[in-house]
């Protein structure tokens, strides 16, 4: 379902890690593209390479072979600093384990990407976002003082703070109960629509995957659209 305005384009992506005795191939010859404004779920069994793919797509790591273009920029060829700068401007993250800084308050956690982007009204923007996710009364609480659902809402506020073009979510409801998970995914979807963000999400949650416009299945390092492995070299 690639369109002319692809925000993400992956060509011949292979990723291996060195082990003591040899190399382990985690992803094999992946080709895909994602259009702007799409919501895509990456599903698959544990250890199938979902999170690795997500990390590579987001430019958190570089692939062994292949090419990744994010918003027209070849991130697989960029230096770490160049990728960081691109992330700061275009990319947001939501993690399974929230990844909030324990020493900082909810407000300070949300302010972080805004400050990195050099915005001077970081505090006002962050306060507004936390209100939007229903935590207006918990600005000064540290992560340890918040429930899992609340922590993930802070993380979502942080992810949308810098108005990213594309948001990567790694099992965003994986650590939450059904009801809370539902509420968090509602929030994620709503913000995604409001801001017109592209959403790429790794999830086990079938309901959540079903709410996405597209599902990519990954198995043994190979990616298929709706469970069909495409012929090599053909974009799915």
């Amino acid at each position: 379902m690639a369109t002319g305005s692809d925000i993400l384009k992956v060509t011949d992506l292979t990723h291996e890690v060195a082990l003591g005795s040899g190399t382990l191939r985690i992803l094999h010859n992946v080709n895909l593209s994602i259009g702007a404004g799409e919501s895509v779920a990456i599903v698959g069994r544990s250890g199938s390479g979902k999170t690795t793919l997500l990390g590579l797509l987001a430019g958190l790591d570089t692939p062994t072979h292949g090419r990744i273009e994010l918003d027209g920029q070849p991130i697989s060829q960029m230096s770490e600093d160049e990728r960081a700068s691109l992330r700061a401007r275009r990319v947001g993250f939501v993690f399974q384990s929230f990844q909030l800084l324990p020493a900082l308050t909810a407000l300070e956690n949300v302010m972080l990407p805004l400050e990195l982007a050099g915005q001077t009204d970081a505090s006002d923007q962050a306060t507004e976002l936390l209100r939007r996710v229903g935590l207006g009364e918990r600005l000064q609480h540290t992560p340890r003082q918040l429930s899992g659902g609340e922590q993930q809402r802070v993380a979502i506020a942080r992810a949308f703070a810098a108005h990213p073009k594309i948001l990567f979510a790694d099992e965003p409801t994986g650590n939450l109960d059904n009801n809370t998970g539902q509420a968090v995914s509602d929030l994620l979807m709503a913000l995604n629509r409001e801001q017109g963000t592209t959403l790429v999400m790794v999830t086990h949650d079938e309901h959540l995957a079903a709410r996405c416009g597209r599902q990519l299945h990954i198995e043994a390092g190979e990616v298929s659209e709706n469970g069909v492995v495409p012929a090599q070299g053909v974009a799915v």
Binding site: D61, E80, S85, A88, Q99, L116, A122
Partner: protein, 827 residues
């Protein structure tokens, strides 16, 4: 059951905080043990080496003309002490057809008990170091005396009724000292020959001296036995009583104590930081145990047992580590002292290390761990606000009481403890104020992609951690600064006390008619001389008209009363004397006298009191018009009593005295001098000065070594503190990178944040250090206090640089690995 499983130490060992805690304890015990061992070793070495100045560990001097009773020597030998006898007197001797007044030293077989006699078999024979004096029937002469008498080696000298054979030259005796009575050239003979000379008659001026050497406790026991038997003319002397050297030794010992105390403090800080960190990390485990149904009491016991296991491990390893370090240091000093290396370890001197370990464990490590039992089980689900800070103040109070108790016990110097306490109190005061200002000032700073702003925001956001880190760093730096500052002023002091051209020769017995000629002679040979001082010998007999024996209470032992004092007059106050009360003589003033402050104190004399002296057949009485301090260790002529020119001493028979510096290459001048002024005595003390200098140098090196150790310990403490927040910092770094922070920004802001921490801690530490040094200087080292601008400016910069490097080092893993890997690793 889970609890017992948990107590298994091998599982503990995998935890970073436990390793840090045990490492802190090892460093604590090792530092304290090394310093204690080394201090005791150094003291033994120095005292032995300094004992050579007495030719024994202790001297008993008798000035009443009566020999020391045999029973006393027997008792000493029963206590396991070695003894030797000496008799000193002046007499005329005849040899080579000439008469000469000599100062005789007659010694028994065992002389000297410490040190060696420098001897020459003939004028051109090599010099030898001997551990004995001349045998019966032999005599050794001072080389100048040999020339004065016109004798050869093998010749005969008549001492009273006894003929003695000259078998060698006495170059130097270990206990030459420098007493003013040793005016005439020296001969040394055997003590057993003295009765046969018939020189000593009832009423002769003779001094019987007994030497003792042995273990400290035996000496103490013997002294305790002897003390009640001593009369007013008996004097028990130890090396500590010798002025110039003892001052240096006392200061050195205090420095070692100070170093040891600082080690105790640093160690305590390290253990406290590590155990607090450990306790914080254990809260989840405790909450879990409670959820599993383990009662609080059992949890407490569990942690006590573990603490004990780590305590014993740390102590044992610490001592094992201390031994090789101690031997290393000791071999360093052995090299300097030209002595055989002494590997023996004074086990008793290990107690401070053991007590430190115990106190560190139970006063610093235990309180936060003990509080773990109060962690609510609810924490498993959610932590409660305010949980983290509870009970910290109580910990601080316990810690402060414990550490100062420990210091007092260890150093036994209340002033030292109070000075350090004062410095710390000042530090905490400034810190509280500074922390408040920090929070106030930084609250408004907004981060905006700029390293400076991010660094300041970081300081504010981590304000709790920042403040406690600043507190620990500042304390560590304060201790280091104190030691650095005390060290430099101590060394400066010694340097000033013994400059390269310190006077090393005295001229005594200069008659009034020779004063100008001597001055000319010295001037012609370019010998920089101090003033020539007149000297009149007189005895203090009355204070305010009352006989001095009645005026001064019996329990005060005032040696100056037992002998004649050297009285002098002068117009100008010597540059190293200081008036503490009253006024120095005005020009033209002829009334009054100036007394040395310590003697005044011992006599209970103050301004306006009238002192009466008997000089020959005359008496003079003058009021005290000033009290002054004297630098006894200056190696210049010093006087208890000074009169104004034209005052009470005017017209009384006087001789003059002076001192000057003469390099060893120009010793030949002395021969010219003695030929020209045969009646003037030359006292050579250059070898004493060399010895003192040598000892000061050894002590200096020891001090440097201990300073280096303390600084190393300080760096370990700082590293422990920094690494306590390692994981948080790395997580933050990883997240910042994920969120798009560039490496350079991350590196710059982190280094800046740490540099600011270091700068701030450095300024606080050095200021608090100055406070402590001021107090120490004032009471213990008796030097004048002055600001140490170089250290004050340098230390904060150095600490900023060191911490910036620490910060950069922490960031390393964050920069090397992809953010994805790092986040996974830290999850």
């Amino acid at each position: 059951m889970a609890a017992t499983q948990l107590a298994r130490s091998n599982r503990d060992w995998r935890q970073r905080d436990v390793r840090v805690l045990v490492a802190a304890l090892i460093v604590a015990v090792a530092t304290v043990a090394t310093i204690a061992l080394y201090a005791s070793h150094l003291e033994r070495t120095l005292v032995t080496s300094a004992s050579a100045f007495l030719a024994g560990d202790r001297q008993l001097e008798r000035e009443n003309g009566q020999p020391v009773p045999q029973a006393w020597r027997d008792e000493a030998e029963r206590q396991g002490l070695a003894t030797a006898r000496m008799v000193e007197f002046s007499t005329m001797v005849f040899g080579g057809g000439n008469f000469q007044l000599v100062s005789v030293k007659a010694v028994s077989d065992s002389y000297p008990l410490r040190g060696q006699v420098e001897f020459q078999a003939d004028t051109d024979a090599p010099r030898q170091m001997l551990s004995h004096g001349p045998g019966p029937g032999d005599v050794w002469l001072n080389p100048r005396l040999l020339r004065l008498l016109g004798l050869e080696i093998g010749g005969t000298v008549e001492v009273g009724n006894r003929d003695l054979k000259v078998t060698g030259l006495l170059i130097r005796e270990p206990d030459a000292g420098f007493s003013m009575s040793a005016l005439a050239p020296r001969i040394m003979m055997h003590a057993d020959d003295v009765p046969a000379t018939g020189v000593i008659q009832p009423g002769s001026r003779v001094e019987y001296v007994n030497l003792f050497a042995g273990a400290d406790d035996a000496l103490e026991r013997f002294h305790a036995w002897l003390e009640p038997k001593l009369g007013p003319s008996d004097e028990w002397k130890s090396i500590q009583d010798g002025q110039a050297l003892s001052d240096s030794l006392t200061k050195a010992r205090r420095f070692l104590l100070l170093g040891g105390s600082l080690a105790v403090l640093l160690a305590s800080v390290a253990v406290a930081v590590a155990s607090r960190q450990y306790a914080m990390g254990q809260r989840d485990t405790v909450a879990l145990l409670k959820t599993l149904g383990v009662p609080g009491r059992r949890i407490s016991r569990l942690y006590r047992v573990r603490l004990l296991v780590w305590g014993m491990t740390g102590t044992l390893l610490g001592i094992l580590l201390a031994l090789p370090v101690f031997w290393g240091l000791a071999s360093l000093t052995a090299g300097m002292l030209d002595r055989k290396m002494d590997y023996s370890v004074d086990v008793l001197s290990l107690w401070p290390a053991l007590v430190t370990a115990l106190v560190a464990l139970f006063a610093f490590a235990y309180p936060p761990i003990q509080r773990l039992r109060r962690v609510p089980a609810m924490r498993v689900l959610r932590s409660q606000p305010g949980e983290a800070g509870r009970g910290v103040w109580m910990d601080v109070v316990i810690a402060v009481i414990a550490v100062f108790g420990l210091l007092w016990l260890y150093a036994g110097e209340l002033w030292m403890v109070l000075a350090l306490l004062g410095g710390l109190a000042a530090l905490l005061g400034i810190l509280a104020l500074a922390g408040w200002l920090l929070v106030l000032g930084l609250r408004r700073v907004v981060g905006s992609g700029n390293a400076w702003r991010l660094a300041l925001v970081g300081l504010y956001r981590h304000r709790r951690a920042s403040l406690s880190q600043i507190a620990v760093f500042a304390m560590t730096l304060m201790l280091a600064a104190t030691l650095i500052l005390v060290r430099s002023s101590l060394l400066d002091d010694w340097q000033a006390q013994l400059p390269a051209d310190a006077p090393n020769h005295f001229l005594i017995n200069i008659g009034p008619e020779a004063v100008d000629e001597v001055r000319d002679f010295l001037g012609k040979h370019d010998l920089s001389t101090d003033e020539l001082y007149p000297m009149v010998r007189g005895r203090l007999t009355e204070i305010n008209g009352k006989p001095v024996r009645e005026a001064v209470s019996k329990d005060r032992e005032v040696r100056a009363l037992n002998r004649e004092l050297n009285l002098t007059w002068m117009q100008d106050l010597p540059s190293d004397n200081q008036i503490v009360k009253g006024n120095w003589f005005q020009p033209g003033q002829t009334e009054g006298l100036s007394i040395e402050s310590e003697l005044a104190q011992r006599l209970g004399v103050t301004l306006g009191d009238r002192l009466t002296f008997t000089i020959g057949s005359q008496t003079i009485t003058e009021p005290v018009t000033s009290i002054r301090t004297v630098q006894w260790d200056s190696m210049k002529p010093n006087f208890y009593m000074v009169f104004p020119p034209g005052g009470a001493l005017d017209g009384l028979p006087a001789t003059w005295i002076t001192s000057f510096y003469l390099g060893s290459s120009r010793k030949g001048i002395l021969n010219d001098f003695t030929r020209r002024f045969p009646t003037i005595s030359v006292l050579e003390i250059d070898h004493i000065i060399d010895r003192i200098r040598e000892i000061v140098q050894q002590v200096t090196q020891a001090i440097e070594a201990i300073l280096a150790m303390i600084l190393a310990a300080a760096i370990v403490v700082m590293a422990a503190v920094v690494s306590a927040t390692l994981q948080d910092r790395q997580r933050e770094g990883a997240l910042l990178r994920t969120l798009g922070g560039r490496q350079r920004l991350l590196v710059n802001s982190t280094m800046l944040e740490f540099a600011l921490l270091g700068l701030f801690a450095g300024i606080l530490g050095v200021l608090a250090g100055e406070v402590a040094v001021w107090a120490l200087q004032y009471r213990m080292f008796e030097g004048a206090f002055h600001w140490h601008w170089r250290v004050v400016l340098l230390l904060p910069l150095v600490s900023a640089a060191v911490l910036a490097v620490f910060g950069r080092w922490q960031l390393n893993p964050v920069l090397r690995v992809s953010p994805m890997l790092l986040l996974r690793r830290l999850e």
